[in-house]
């Protein structure tokens, strides 16, 4: 495989962006990332984005947003109705074909205009499940009880995950939930959706992210210390909750194996784990040990921007490599109920 690296990253996450339209808040981010490596849109070989029409209630919302790239003259471009991490995957594949050396990847989502918990119910089986309108927190809580009652994880451990997310988020300017809270105080919280407590749930955000990818020598020209993508893979589990073992993530485990997570020590992991329970499941699926710092940014629990959170995990991991804070990192992205679909990327500094 061709060596491809993350050479630039920009993000914005706020609890509510209600002043600007998607394209209005994405244009500065696109330019921040392009300026960081001194590339204009016309110098970029391929562009790929991710977003969902359901979030903002607008069909074809990505058609408005493409104008932010400045696609005049025309550009080679594609869009996935998935988290931006899958847009990055598509761009990575395009770079593997060897015809272009650089790619722009962006994704965005505004959950605040609607009720995300309800909107996500429309993602479920449309005949048997969606008509009951179970919300996304309830679905995760069903998995959480299985994890607890089967002894896979304890409430204490979930509270430790939630507490650490807040602690790490304190130094992340893009995090939403960043006030420290002790494990004891979290355990004292009333259940939000038993057995999940408010601190186990994600802090919903509006926002977006932009990544620039470059291949081989081009990456070295553009960035002092590129974050090389050494492995990237994504897999799905079944959708029907009743046939899945919700205490594990087969898809994340396979993707991690294919991406080569276990071949060497991982310094940091940015896991797209919206819930404390999802982090527990992913940590096991990826086989991460005590020597890995989990979610140094605070993770998706501290700020969860639908359609961009996965791409942001890759960006956060890449930034730490480029800054020299880490030599080897893993980032994940997820989609669907209870970690149904997972993407795993391994990033290295050398």
């Amino acid at each position: 495989m061709r060596d491809v690296a993350v050479v630039a990253f920009a993000q914005r996450q706020e609890s509510k962006i209600n002043t600007e339209s998607e394209v209005e808040f994405m244009v500065p981010l696109m330019n921040e990332a392009k300026d960081a490596v001194g590339l204009t849109q016309q110098q970029i070989g391929f562009t790929c984005s991710g977003s969902s029409d359901f979030l903002a209630g607008q069909a074809f919302s990505f058609v408005m947003t493409i104008d932010g790239t400045g696609p005049v003259p025309p550009i080679s471009e594609s869009h996935v109705e998935q988290d931006g991490a899958w847009a990055l995957y598509e761009a990575w594949v395009k770079l593997q074909c060897g015809e272009v050396d650089t790619a722009l990847v962006y994704s965005y989502g505004k959950s605040s205009p609607g009720s995300l918990r309800d909107v996500l119910a429309t993602q479920m089986d449309p005949y048997y499940v969606a008509p009951l309108w179970p919300d996304a927190f309830a679905i995760e809580a069903l998995a959480a009880r299985l994890l607890l009652e089967r002894g896979v994880v304890s409430e204490q451990q979930l509270a430790e995950i939630a507490s650490r997310s807040r602690e790490h988020a304190a130094s992340n300017p893009h995090a939403i939930r960043k006030t420290p809270k002790s494990v004891a105080d979290i355990l004292a919280e009333d259940y939000a959706m038993a057995p999940l407590r408010p601190s186990d749930l994600p802090a919903s955000a509006d926002g977006g992210a932009v990544v620039v990818l470059a291949a081989g020598a081009r990456a070295q020209e553009l960035c002092e210390r590129p974050a090389w993508i050494r492995g990237i893979d994504h897999r799905s589990d079944a959708h029907t909750l009743g046939v899945r073992n919700l205490t594990q993530s087969m898809s994340a485990r396979i993707a991690a194996e294919k991406a080569g997570v276990g071949t060497d020590k991982i310094d940091i992991a940015e896991l797209h784990a919206p819930f404390s329970t999802s982090e527990a499941v992913l940590t096991t699926a990826l086989g991460l040990g005590d020597d890995t710092v989990i979610n140094p940014s605070g993770g998706a629990q501290a700020a969860h921007t639908m359609m961009a959170s996965g791409l942001i995990r890759i960006g956060e991991a890449a930034q730490r490599i480029s800054r020299g804070d880490a030599d080897r990192a893993v980032a994940t992205a997820t989609s669907g109920p209870c970690l149904q679909q997972n993407l795993v990327a391994v990033l290295e500094g050398e």
């Binding site: 209600n18 002043t19 600007e20 339209s21 394209v23 209005e24 244009v27 500065p28 696109m30 330019n31 849109q41 359901f54 903002a56 209630g57 408005m64 104008d67 932010g68 790239t69 400045g70 696609p71 005049v72 605040s112 205009p113 609607g114 009720s115 309800d118 909107v119 429309t122 449309p126 005949y127 048997y128 499940v129 969606a130 008509p131 009951l132 309108w133 179970p134 919300d135 309830a138 809580a141 069903l142 998995a143 959480a144 009880r145 299985l146 009652e149 259940y191 959706m193 038993a194 057995p195 999940l196 079944a238 959708h239 029907t240 909750l241 009743g242 046939v243 919700l246």
Partner: protein, 330 residues
């Protein structure tokens, strides 16, 4: 000028009609008749509700078997704040329930007084809705079962009409925000002023403003430019059949791309005070505004566009639209 951004409620709702196919159709037919069906998987286990394929191997499945209306809770959570379309209007438990005779659980609601009455492993019994139509909500929900309850599997009566489709209405409420540029544009509309935004590189002017120049890939904020309410028709459509969304419009009527004087791109407007047959590409037009006392923060303030009677705009290239250069620029 106030920078406050406009918001408006946006409701998206539609009564989706879903055709069901053989397996989903049979399950829903069963519900209407008071029978619960599962499907036999290739490993011999029974999945309920049934799918026409095995969700692990994707092999086709078709052998339906009746299962019990009594089952066991595998996991649950407490929903203290039910929303309108959910199974119960009072607080209830969401649960994964494996019906006797099936090997996989289904999601539904269990009605009990509080979370202290729920346990994993508890036995529950299906409660039918009084009037059933062949829909997952024919199951009103579940109640705790008495120990002796068996809920013997029933058999699907012969010769009943099969369910072929199901209605699953969706209603989602949003708060729509048009963004900074459009908010300014809409505010100015109240004063009968038309605003556009300008590309910082090429000077092109876009109406309505979008906050971004698609040529430069740059923000055009915060300063917008004001345009006159006159321009020309660069092309048009004549709608000759009524459309649902605009019952107020009587066909035939003209919808035209209007390029304002000083603008680089056109937008769609309604032709007024002119017969459709008389509309021409290049025809000069001006805005017809609502009466002053009816003006709102809305693009609807412009009722349409009427001919000015001036000489037509000369168009030398019919393939290109709008103006590539700012007027007056060389």
């Amino acid at each position: 000028m106030s920078d406050e951004v406009l918001t408006a409620p946006l409701v998206l709702e539609y009564p989706f009609t879903r055709t069901t196919g053989p397996v989903i159709g049979a399950f829903l037919t069963g519900l209407r008749e008071g029978v619960v069906l599962g499907v036999k998987r290739t490993d011999g286990s029974v999945m309920c509700p049934p799918l026409e394929y095995d969700p692990i191997t994707s092999e086709s499945l078709s052998e339906l078997v009746p299962v019990s209306t009594v089952g066991t809770v595998q996991t649950w959570t407490w929903n203290g704040d039910p929303r309108p379309q959910q199974p119960f209007s009072q607080p209830f438990a969401w649960a994964m329930i494996t019906l006797d005779g099936a090997d996989t659980p289904m999601l539904h609601g269990v009605m009990v007084d509080g979370p202290d009455q729920m346990t994993t492993g508890m036995r529950v019994e299906l409660v039918w809705r009084a009037e059933r139509e062949g829909h997952i909500t024919d199951i009103a929900g579940f109640l705790p079962a008495v120990d002796s309850a068996t809920g013997e599997p029933g058999a699907l009566p012969e010769g009943v009409e099969e369910v072929r489709s199901v209605r699953t209405p969706i209603r989602m409420e949003y708060t729509y925000t048009p963004g900074r540029a459009l908010s300014q544009y809409l505010r100015a509309m109240k004063d009968k002023r038309i605003l556009g935004d300008q590309c910082p590189d090429t000077g092109q002017v876009f109406v309505p403003p979008r906050g971004v120049s698609s040529i430069a890939g740059k923000s055009t904020l915060p300063d917008l430019v004001e345009l006159p309410d006159t321009g020309y028709i660069e092309s048009f459509n004549i709608t000759r059949v009524p459309i649902k969304m605009r019952p107020d419009l009587t066909p035939p009527y003209v919808s035209a791309w209007i390029v304002l004087d000083g603008a680089s791109v056109g937008f769609m407007g309604l032709g007024m005070n002119v017969e459709p047959e008389e509309v021409r590409v290049g025809m000069r037009v001006r805005a017809v505004w609502k009466p002053d006392d009816e003006l709102e923060m809305s693009a609807q303030n412009i009722l349409g566009w009427e001919p000015t009677g001036e000489a037509d705009e000369v168009i030398d290239d019919y393939s290109r639209v709008g103006r590539p250069q700012r007027e007056g620029a060389s």
